[in-house]
Amino acid sequence: MSEGIGAPVKRKEDKRFITGAGRYTDDIKLENQAYAAFVRSPHAHANVKSIDKSAAEGMDGVLAVLDGKQLTGDGIGNIICGWAITSKDGSPMNMGAWSALATDKVRYVGDAVVAVIAETKAQAKEAAEAVVVEYEELPAAAHIDAALAGGAPQIHDNAPGNVIYDWEIGEKDPTEAAIAGAAHVTEMDITNNRLSPNAMEPRSAITKYDAAEDHYTLYTTSQNPHVARLVLSAFYAVAPEHKLRVIAPDVGGGFGSKIYIYPEEIVCLWAAMKTKRSIKWTADRTEAFLTDAHGRDHVTTAKMGFDASGNIVGFHVSTKANFGAYMSLFSSAVPTYLYATLLSGTYNIPNIYCEVLACYTNTVPIDAYRGAGRPEASYVVERMMETAAREMGKDPAELRRQNFINEFPHQTPVIMNYDSGDFEGNMNQAMEAADWAGFEARKAESAAHGKLRGIGMACYIEACGIAPSAAVGSLGAGVGLWESAEVRVNPVGTIEILTGSHSHGQGHETTFAQVVADRFGVPLDSVQIVHGDTDKVQFGMGTYGSRSGPVGMSAIVKALDKVEAKVKKIGAHLLEVTEADITIEDGQVKAQGTNKALGWHEIGLAAYTAHNLPPDMEPGLKEGAFYDPLNFTFPMGCFICEVEVDPETGKTEILKFVASDDFGVIINPMIVEGQVHGGIAQGVGQALLEEVVYDESGQQLSASYMDYTMPRADDVPSYDVLHHNTKCTTNPLGIKGCGEAGAIGSPPAVINAITNAIGNNDLSMPATPSKVWAALGAAKIAAE
């Protein structure tokens, strides 16, 4: 079937995107629209002594100058983190208060203090500059070590020593005993660099208040409009759910940063009610750097023990995680259940223990960013494996092979139960495509022209589709992580799929329609995907964690099952055969063994005219379903990167990048390949280029593209994207998910290649030319 599952159909949505007809939040202009601008803290840590709004209030076009005391006075609640983590000692996590507008204290550069509402954007910005905020500067802690040091500035009163939680997983004593008795122990300090998400479309919100209906509307750049409505209603008390509509129209990339509900959306909703005006706010790029939730920022010490034949006997990991100044919506889950649970990697490891110390700093909040915890885990595991192999004088591929898990299901010591996979199959495929065996000859060629060649591997595994609701609930999640779908067959036979997933670049309008086309043989163009509007779709949990395929599409399949059952009943009735004799193919409902058939549109018409339906059947053809996953899904793969380093400048060039992924069943290989390309580009960005840098006073030194290095086309290689897929056993389509894999597996592959080239394992990300050059110098000194 040319348009069904497995077909590389071109993306339906691209016509509007590439012709400039996409409708993003900032493209929307409402009647009576005013603009918001925010006065933000220039200090990383300060008490707010006074706010003088008088000059701003008198300026042209200014409608309102609003502060935090007014906001809290109107009963608007604090921003919360929705996943409760319990420390080793049984105490709950220390969540500090986060008001959408700071009342008495600011905790990072960019913290919103005052909102100015004016007739034009320029007037709002002018007036914002005229607001006088008197600060009493306090010492700041911008980095993990500074925040955890004795005598560090206290950022939130209820988090002594700036500790949010001190959590653990796994068995400590057996792990330490296993490592103590190991024949070889590899120990490394590993830093995971802090990243800024940089979605192409900056965050934006437009709010409307209808006084007659006491009803609010929020258009916003969200990956999960229903979750936004839920927290805006239940926690921030902006409006009850039935009085609040959230619309996330076309959204230009999220990478996690648009999961969360930020101060600006809350303030704009509240300000629309206060001013009786529609209000628009769109971040400029500087605001994006200063306020979008960042990702990563872990400091880890890891020890891995091996027996005399190279089998892993124990893995001990201590991680410190930076949370920034406030706990963002899912922040607490990232360095715990999305990180430590993946530390078994693709290997049989009998003993694993991980402890995580989470801390506040005077920086932008940190939350999930493409991969969220799993890139950090993959980076730790795969750098350890590579370094261990080098230390033991073993081939890094063979060390992995000997430790691979090869029986499924496999229960790891850290919660996860892997359902399927053929890890060796992916590794063999990647090694063949990369010509692993021919590397030494290529290395000699590079050496002949003065370059250092290196090859590196990473065998990542990750967990997608988060996740069984009861399981995540027992681990502290404040929400269930199912998905919903509704299938509406119209009287003429066209089909609308309403989904709680949200597409912000993933191509759902195409892939979801392919699932329907595959099921009924109807043309792809007769299927429309509806998403991103809480008035249209009843509820949904949104798109993150590569969950739209394994969870979102599974909900659609469940609803399609119900539609199919009813269609068969109608068909059997009209064709005067039994249901068992009915088949649905090529857009027709056929009576097997006869030449009797009905067109798909005839079924729709029959359902809605209801002139001749089976006795007791309700008219219409519309079915809904909620799907709660049985397990996480476990995409995995083997990435091989080959680099050449210029020893004079330290510059790294990626010569070849092979990705062999196991994504389970693939709906649209072209879209999947695009996801892999984008993921690897972000992973290469993390490995070679990107880093958010704060100075000690908490000023962000990398808050523009002059200093934050986004990967450009000439920074990334041409990728060889391969698949060796095994079907996921826990969802109806056998899908594992593919959205984050590239970003998860690539950083260790790149760094392993560079450290191989330069002969020094002591190298941190991003491996900029200056760092690589310095590491080469250190290696040279060590050799002398």
């Binding site: 004079e648 400048t649 934050y708 030319p769 310095a774």
Partner: protein, 264 residues
């Protein structure tokens, strides 16, 4: 962006007069630095005097080895001039690697030279080529023109009209771009001309473009890349920032100087 009054000048004289009549005016050449700075509300000139329509400020003329380039000549025009390339390919190559195509089609030589960004490419070329900067009031030698980062010999209201130089016998530029901005993290222009060897370095110094006497001496006795092997570049006076420390930049100065010499 703050409010500003826009003027479009049709002659250099008109531009000078508009500028002197403004409260706090600024010349708008290609706008590749000024406009982004204004958009970030970090610059707020009362008046913008656009000189992009002034024909007398544009164009490249080559007579024998004498080269004159109008201040409003774009990087793309410098990069694609066959006449210039025939006598001084190093400068054409330099212009072809500034920014991206959009920048190269708006940005101008005069704007870059007047701004004297410590990581811009043209200042290294002007200094190494011993160029003369002609303004609406006088002529200034490049050695006197570039004073320190973002600071030049230009007086208030003074406007660059053109630059001129004698094409060198040999000359080339090698740049190591900053990974983020792609400005020069270190760029070295090496020229061997009638007046001897001149080596100018941009991007690496902590106070803007400078000449390296040690490397000039080494190349004067033997104009070959390996003549620089014995030269030690001190990290003192080198820039240190999040992209690389002074020791790294000192290393780049030597590596880029060798590469420029080899290419010349």
């Amino acid at each position: 962006m703050h409010n500003t009054t826009y003027h479009k000048a049709s002659s250099a004289a008109e531009a000078a007069s508009l500028l002197s009549g403004a409260d706090d005016g600024a010349l708008l050449a290609g706008g590749q630095t000024l406009i982004p700075t204004m958009k970030q509300r970090l610059a707020a000139p009362s008046d913008l005097v656009d000189i992009s329509g002034v024909a007398e400020l544009k164009g490249i003329s080559v007579s024998g080895s004498s080269v004159t380039i109008g201040a409003m000549t774009t990087h793309a025009e410098v990069a694609s001039s066959a006449e210039l390339r025939a006598v001084c390919p190093g400068l054409a190559d330099l212009a072809g690697h500034i920014g991206d195509p959009a920048v190269r089609h708006r940005g101008t030589l005069g704007g870059s030279v007047a701004n004297n960004d410590p990581a811009a490419d043209y200042p290294a070329a002007m200094l190494a080529l011993g160029a003369t900067i002609k303004t609406n009031t006088r002529e200034i030698a490049a050695d006197d023109f570039f004073q320190s980062m973002f600071t030049t010999a230009l007086d208030e209201g003074e406007m660059i009209v053109s630059v001129s130089f004698e094409a060198p016998e040999k000359g080339a530029y090698a740049k190591f771009p900053n990974p983020a901005s792609r400005y020069a993290m270190c760029g070295v222009f090496v020229a061997k001309g009638a007046g001897g060897v001149r080596v100018a370095v941009t991007g690496a110094g902590d106070d803007g473009v400078f000449r390296s006497a040690d490397m000039e001496a080494a190349l004067s006795s033997n104009f070959a890349a390996d003549a620089l092997d014995g030269v030690t570049v001190s990290p003192n006076g080198m820039l240190s920032d999040i992209h690389g420390d002074a020791a790294y930049r000192a290393n780049l100065v030597k590596v880029m100087a060798k590469r420029a010499t080899a290419a010349a």
